[in-house]
Symmetry: C2
Subunit: 109 residues, 2 copies
Amino acid sequence: MSSTAETAIDQPARDDIDLGAVLHALSDHTRLQIVAALDSRPGACPTGSFDVPVSKSTCTHHFRVLREAGVVSQRSEGTARLNTLRREDLDARFPGLLDAIPEGRVRSS
Amino acid sequence: MSSTAETAIDQPARDDIDLGAVLHALSDHTRLQIVAALDSRPGACPTGSFDVPVSKSTCTHHFRVLREAGVVSQRSEGTARLNTLRREDLDARFPGLLDAIPEGRVRSS
């Protein structure tokens, strides 16, 4: 629960990533937009850098769902939260899943 | 809303199947069990023929979620509801998605 500088935030280990939780996390259009954006950017991205049509607190909620499902990892750096897609872990656990989910196929809500 | 003998029940057309709705439908362990069972059986299966650890009314709910998302088609035949996985439609809309979701990877809840 600590949030000092350069702190990794709790997330499931690769083997504990649950398919149901991942599918739930990806079933929301905004979260899918975030995943697509993360997938297209190199390096870790601050939570505030995503162009999504929701409030800051809703965005924070979406990132928590993604992190707890094992879809993204987050770390605190000062006051910022930096996010990375756990593509390697997801590809190892559920081969082909991320590639079968093109965000362009999702209707805007 | 009719349910006379041999009646197809409302479901989205192929082009209207929404990825978010499909992922939500598949994010539940019981629904994933149903999908895996349908995928392994030829022909249409009565709703009551699935070995899932939920009440009849909960099972009915799960089938409705799957149908409304476009994952299964249902038709009434007398008093029975017969279910078919819409694999061809899903494979056309989201190639590789069903194959990337092996039910064996899902933890039992």
